[in-house]
């Protein structure tokens, strides 16, 4: 099962993923469409600030079983068997927000979209970039992420790599060798900004 895996320690809050997502879900698929199209294309991934100015790119996890699918009264939510994605049939969505109420990640929000007959707000959540996947491309957010915070692949493969990395660092540490998970100056920067949050409204 392929998924967009998040390495939160590598998210630096640039919001490239949000822009790429909005472009991918626009009518024109063009960045300039973001300012000219109506309805305005909206991102389906959300980078928000938590503690110490750290960020987390939050998006649909395409759960299985998916609570949103289970509670949808109109059957608007369904699963694509090829990509195992949870998708929304905009024509059936009545914007009742039941799905949003049960979503464990609170990533469902309601927006107008260009590709629906009756112009109303619908559950405009991540569709796993299914059109891109059909073409053999990776989701737009992952393509846009230049820090490696978002990675697309088989979850077990990604976890295995992370585990190897962990083992490498742990064994290096046992030998007394420095094995930082992050580059030194990046850790220093985060320490500095953590202090800044203690001194003002960003805390």
């Amino acid at each position: 099962m392929k998924t967009v895996f998040v390495h939160p320690e590598k998210c630096i809050g640039c919001r490239h993923c949000e822009i790429a997502c909005a472009v991918e879900h626009s009518r024109s698929k063009d960045i300039f469409g973001l300012v000219t199209e109506s309805p305005p294309p909206m991102p389906r991934i959300h980078v928000e600030v938590g503690v110490d100015l750290l960020t987390f790119p939050n998006r649909c996890r395409h759960c299985d079983p998916a609570p949103c699918m289970q509670v949808c009264p109109t059957g608007a939510l369904y699963r694509d068997k090829d990509t195992w994605s949870v998708l929304v049939d905009y024509e059936k969505c009545i914007a009742c927000a039941m799905c949003a109420m049960v979503c464990p990640f609170d990533i469902i929000s309601f927006h107008r979209v260009w590709n629906v007959t009756f112009d109303h707000e619908v559950n405009a959540k991540c569709d796993h970039c299914i059109e891109r996947q059909m073409r053999g491309e990776i989701p737009a957010c992952v393509e846009a992420c230049k820090t490696g915070a978002l990675e697309f692949g088989d979850a077990n493969d990604i976890i295995r790599n992370s585990r190897r990395d962990f083992t490498l660092r742990t064994t290096m540490a046992l030998k007394g060798e420095a094995a930082p998970e992050l580059p030194e100056s990046i850790s220093q920067f985060r320490e500095v900004m953590k202090k800044v949050t203690k001194l003002g409204p960003l805390g």
């Binding site: 809050g13 640039c14 100015l53 820090t147 490696g148 001194l199 003002g200």
Partner: protein, 632 residues
């Protein structure tokens, strides 16, 4: 975790320590006024590539960004620039903007001197002839038997020539620094050649395919900063002194409580005092005072804001309403008839804020227009008439004030300012020897310059005030300019009584002199006064500035100007602690060079430390190290 909406009380307490500002901020929130803190919140999260210095948006092959985590993303921009080159170029780009801002301000002051010398400037005269002659002598201009105007003309032309000179030197940078400091510049190849040249060359170097060696880029950043500190900024300071008087100790008041309920309030905001000085002069015109009374006010009340405020405070004792983060709040008092703005640090949204009240924003510089402002352009030829027109506009706006929407805090803080190098020398009895003796004896351990801005990321004034208190407690005398000085004023540190907060040694010295332990030395271009003082002390002891037990700090900096100031402190040999990070953490090499390696080249270096108590410890440790090396 608490994710409830914050109460007004919580918001105002985390945003500022300025009690007067808190009062008005509560009103601003009730009035529904958007302020800088709301905008900061709306900007979260702020882009990590930008913060780390890894975003390059210079050319159309880009924009590019480098992954801060190595091989998981791109390590070079399209052109091939790596993290070192991009971070260094970004820093130089910021710094050159700061140097340009100071120096363009300086140029404008010198141009007014020229017009004054030619008899073409309305309302201006040469107030400090002694200083004119002293500076002219440094420029090797004949002064004996010549009129002030003749000397002033030669001096103005000599200075203007240094902006784009072919003589390849800046006079102040030749005659003022200690020989040993200049030697480090020569060895590093960073002697500034002219003001504009270094700035233009910096802009050239950041173009793709020019300077691609981060060390070379950073060396030029230091040279550019020197052309500001010992060039453009220093000219701004010295020629403002010539035209408007060299500051002497003066008592005045500070915080939003300096606005007055029954008077026409005019806020003088920005950085360049050339027009505001004329407003100060014109506000004494009996016809204007009469007019104000006719319109129902008791008189005209001028107050300053930011560095224009510092300039007219230092020389004319005009009260000052606050520093950078107070500008919107001044308008939210509902009691400001006109906010006169020149340039720098004026929020582009200030006219939007003003539109919620009766306040008229009057822009005065051809290079700083604000949609929604009334533009009354400054020209030396008719500056006095323009000043009178602006005051008239304010008077005529007084009846539009809604008394039901006015809230003025009622506790302005008393303060002392006006400590130019000359004033300090005179307070010491005509020589710096007593100060040096006190340092040698150890009663004063050393000196620290606290300068720079406000930044909404840090609770307003907390960084400045905490650091100043911690330093004077450790018997380190504090010299301040800019927003930092205003912060200390609001906190009561610019009063002789604040000596009580100082250590025993410093207390005994400042009490004997009748001065505060924290000295207000002026606006941000007046950081050049701190350089001059450091140079005087170093020359007296025949050492380099880097040998002195001194340090610098910018606890709440935000502006590119602060980068230039920080860099010219460092390049002049001063250990300088910044309260917010430089945007270079994406490059370990650039960070290491600025915080370590550069010390071996010029004797000064940066440290990044937001916590003001920890910053005080770093400064104190540095000062003690220098004392030890000097054998005192």
């Amino acid at each position: 975790m608490d994710i409830k909406p914050k109460l007004v009380k919580e918001l105002i307490e985390e945003r500022t320590i300025d009690e007067a500002a808190r009062e008005v901020m509560a009103k601003a929130i009730e009035d529904g006024i958007e302020t800088v803190w709301d905008r900061l919140e709306a900007q979260q999260p702020q882009c990590g590539f930008g913060q780390l210095g890894l975003c390059c948006n210079r050319c159309a092959m880009g924009p590019c960004r480098i992954s801060p985590f190595g091989e998981t993303g791109p390590t070079r921009g399209v052109c091939g620039a790596d993290a070192n080159v991009i971070a260094a170029r970004n820093l130089l780009d910021d710094l050159l903007v700061g140097a340009a801002a100071h120096s363009d301000h300086g140029r404008e002051v010198v141009e007014v001197l020229l017009k004054t010398a030619e008899g073409k400037a309305q309302g201006y005269e040469i107030i400090d002839e002694e200083k004119l002659k002293a500076v002219a002598r440094e420029y090797e201009i004949e002064v004996e038997g010549r009129s002030s105007r003749e000397i002033a003309k030669d001096l103005a032309l000599a200075m203007l020539e240094e902006f784009g000179t072919i003589k390849n030197k800046i006079q102040f940078a030749e005659v003022r620094p200690p020989e040993k400091t200049k030697e480090t510049w020569r060895n590093a190849g960073i002697v500034p050649r002219s003001v504009d040249r270094e700035i233009v060359e910096a802009a050239h170097r950041v173009h793709m395919g020019v300077d691609s060696d981060y060390v070379n880029i950073l060396l030029h950043a230091l040279r550019t900063s020197l052309s500001d500190g010992w060039g453009g900024s220093m000219m701004a300071t010295e020629i403002s002194d010539v035209l408007f008087g060299t500051p002497k100790p003066v008592t005045s008041y500070v915080n939003l409580g300096v606005l007055k309920k029954d008077m026409v309030n005019i806020v003088l905001h920005g950085h360049n005092p050339v027009l505001s000085e004329m407003v100060v002069k014109a506000a004494d015109e009996p016809e204007l005072i009469e007019y104000a009374k006719k319109m129902g006010a008791k008189g005209i009340n001028l107050v300053g804001m930011c560095c224009t405020g510092n300039e007219v405070l230092m020389r004319q004792g005009i009260p000052i309403a606050g520093n950078m983060l107070n500008q919107e709040l001044a308008i939210a008092t509902g009691a400001v008839e006109v906010m006169l703005i020149d340039y720098q640090c004026i929020f582009p949204s200030i006219t939007k804020t003003a539109s919620c009240y009766h306040t008229k924003v009057v822009s005065t510089s051809e290079k700083a227009k604000f949609p929604g402002a009334i533009h009354m352009e400054f020209h030396p030829e008719n500056a006095y008439d323009t000043a009178k027109e602006i005051i008239k506009l304010a008077i005529e706006n007084f009846p539009n004030r809604d008394p039901n929407r006015v809230k003025i805090p009622n506790k302005p803080m008393k303060m002392m300012a006006g400590f130019s190098v000359e004033a300090l020398k005179s307070a010491l009895g005509g020589s710096f020897k007593p100060l040096i003796d006190a340092i040698v004896e150890g009663k004063i351990r050393g000196a620290a310059g606290i300068v720079g801005c406000n930044n909404p990321k840090i609770k307003q004034d907390y960084g400045h005030v905490t650091l100043a208190k911690e330093l004077i407690k450790r018997d380190i005398i504090v010299l301040e300019t800019g927003c930092a000085a205003i912060a200390s004023g609001k906190a009561g540190l610019l009063l002789p009584e604040a000596a009580e907060l100082a250590g025993e040694g410093l207390k005994s010295i400042v009490t004997a002199l009748g001065v505060p332990p924290v000295l207000h030395m002026g606006s941000c271009v007046d950081c050049s006064r701190i350089l001059v003082l450091a140079a005087e002390l170093a020359k007296t002891l025949n050492v380099a500035i880097s040998d002195l037990p001194v340090a610098g700090a910018a606890p709440e900096w935000y502006s590119q100007k602060a980068i230039s100031i920080g860099a010219y402190f460092v390049a002049s040999g001063v250990f300088t602690v910044l309260g917010l990070p430089l945007k270079v953490y994406g490059s370990k090499d650039v960070l290491n060079l600025l915080t370590e390696g550069v010390e071996g080249v010029v004797g000064g270096k940066f440290a990044i430390e937001p916590d003001p108590i920890r910053a005080a410890e770093l400064i104190s440790a540095h000062i003690e190290k220098k004392r030890k090396e000097l054998g005192i």
